[in-house]
């Protein structure tokens, strides 16, 4: 009965969303001025410069330092995020306590994690720039907080999903809760936790690049400047560096995953 009501509600919601979507189509002005008149020309220029990225030494050097900066923000931000996520995730999974406090701690920590990730990293970046100015800390915290929230939530779920039999066996060996954590929960969930973190690390690199639009330096900032000057050749150079960075991280994470599985 409960199931039926839920299903019904969900269908209702889906129907509502489809209606909103259809209505939004009507509200777009499908006239000839949907694209601005110079659009065609600009797009052509962009496509052309794709094949001729600016490879002059100054631009390459700028691209390397910007890429380095983007990577540094992402790595530092993610390191902080992982620390936050492990501590908050373990507490939010509720495996360290039982009884009345369990529900209380669990739900309040899940609430905190929800708040951390409900706000987009770009918004956090704005907030931190307003608070501490254009400093690397603004970028690092802006990544650490929402990613800490996402990872923390996933870590908590992964720890809760661990098979119960090995845990019960360790309990019968006389393990305390913290011993259960380091001899049962962590080893059993580690492979999943690491591969999800690596995936999120890729996302953090993209975020770090975007974040620099706010003015924090890095690849995104350079793309922004070059676009303003209509220098599409430079834009592509920076974009290729960004793609290269993401591919590098992907290769690294694939390598790590392979080692974990075998």
């Amino acid at each position: 009965m409960q199931k039926f009501v839920d299903l019904h509600k969900r269908n209702l919601l889906s129907g509502l969303l489809i209606l909103v979507f259809v209505w939004s189509l009507f509200s777009v002005n499908w006239g000839p001025d949907l694209f601005h008149s110079g659009g065609k020309h600009t797009i052509l220029q962009m496509v052309k410069s794709f094949f001729q990225p600016d490879l002059s030494p100054e631009i390459l050097q700028l691209a390397v330092t910007s890429a380095w900066r983007t990577l540094a923000y992402a790595v530092t931000g993610m390191t902080l995020a992982i620390l936050l996520a492990v501590v908050l995730g373990v507490l939010a999974s509720g495996i360290l306590y039982n009884g009345k406090q369990r529900i209380w701690v669990k739900s309040s920590l899940r609430g905190l994690l929800g708040f951390m990730r409900a706000i987009h990293e770009l918004v956090w970046a704005w907030l931190f720039v307003a608070a501490v100015g254009l400093s690397p800390f603004a970028a690092i915290f802006a990544i650490a907080i929402p990613y800490g929230g996402i990872l923390g939530r996933i870590f908590a779920d992964m720890l809760n999903d661990v098979k119960p039999e090995p845990i019960q066996a360790l309990q019968s060996n006389g393990a305390s809760r913290l011993q259960l954590l380091c001899y049962g929960y962590f080893p059993l969930a580690a492979a999943d936790m690491i591969s999800y973190t690596m995936y999120r690390f890729e996302c953090a690199i993209r975020s770090s690049a975007i974040m620099s639009f706010v003015g924090l330096g890095g690849l995104g900032y350079q793309i922004h400047l070059s676009l303003d000057d209509l220098k599409y050749h430079e834009v592509w150079t920076f974009i290729f560096f960004l793609i290269g960075l993401v591919i590098l991280v992907d290769l690294w994470s694939r390598f790590l995953r392979k080692r974990l599985v075998s």
Partner: protein
């Protein structure tokens, strides 16, 4: 007066809703006994072993371990020294190397610091080596546990029990997921080790043959009641076939 029994149960019952899983069981088990628990599935073997291991409180009756109520086993360390548990092969931590699964038997004795340190420098290594030697797995000490076969994993679990050194071992269908040859190998090893260590063993089993070959006493359960409780040489084939016989009345009832 006879010495205090390891377990003494008086009219133990357990209900799940309307159905009674165990009804009014009474028996005692003395130190050093090697008892097989047999019976059709659903007879209540797992429920009984969970009550004996103090993981499940009975709904009715009284239950003493070493003449004391279960509540006297307060600390995790006391409990681990008294009771060891082995079940199907799925209760090892697969991603860890064999040696850490074996040394997990020491967690009750170790501090948190010592158990973390053991990841860097193995603690009580000789103990683990000796236990693995006794179960014939000395060369697998650093292998990832999940890579071992089912029979080997169960031997790792036996090595863990050797390191834990409980007074009593409760085994719930420890070989139900193994082929007959492997199953006999593990049961033979379990019983031999229990006798060498002067422990008490209660094991539920699917196989009547293994029960007759290796155990000294058989408790047969059926529908949550004791069907018979006899020394192994007094159990007759007639009793065994009655134990597993499907009651005609029940079958008719299911057809309707």
């Amino acid at each position: 007066m006879s010495p205090t029994p390891v377990f003494e149960l008086k009219n133990i019952s357990k209900y799940y809703g309307e159905v009674s899983s165990l009804s009014s069981l009474s028996f005692r088990i003395d130190r050093g006994e090697v008892v097989a628990l047999i019976g059709p599935s659903g007879a209540g073997k797992t429920t009984l072993l969970n009550i004996l291991s103090a993981m499940l409180p009975p709904d009715d009756g009284t239950f003493f371990i070493d003449g004391k109520p279960v509540s006297s086993l307060t600390s995790r360390r006391q409990r681990a020294r008294k009771l060891g548990i082995i079940r199907q092969q799925f209760d090892l931590v697969g991603p860890l190397p064999v040696v850490h699964n074996v040394l997990a038997g020491r967690l009750g004795e170790w501090s948190l610091f010592k158990s973390l340190l053991s990841y860097l420098f193995l603690q009580d290594k000789e103990l683990a080596m000796h236990a693995l030697h006794r179960v014939g797995l000395k060369d697998k000490i650093y292998e990832k546990t999940a890579h071992l076969s089912g029979g080997e994993q169960q031997r790792v679990a036996l090595a863990r029990l050797l390191v834990q050194k409980p007074e009593v071992i409760l085994a719930d269908e420890p070989v139900s997921s193994l082929d007959p040859a492997r199953a006999e190998d593990i049961i033979g090893m379990l019983v031999r080790l229990v006798k060498e260590e002067n422990q008490t063993l209660i094991a539920s089993l699917h196989s009547v043959d293994l029960a007759r070959k290796y155990f000294t006493r058989i408790i047969a359960l059926r529908d949550g009641q004791i069907f018979f409780d006899l020394p192994v040489d007094q159990v007759t084939s007639q009793q065994l076939s009655d134990l597993y016989k499907i009651m005609e009345m029940k079958e008719d009832a299911e057809v309707c």
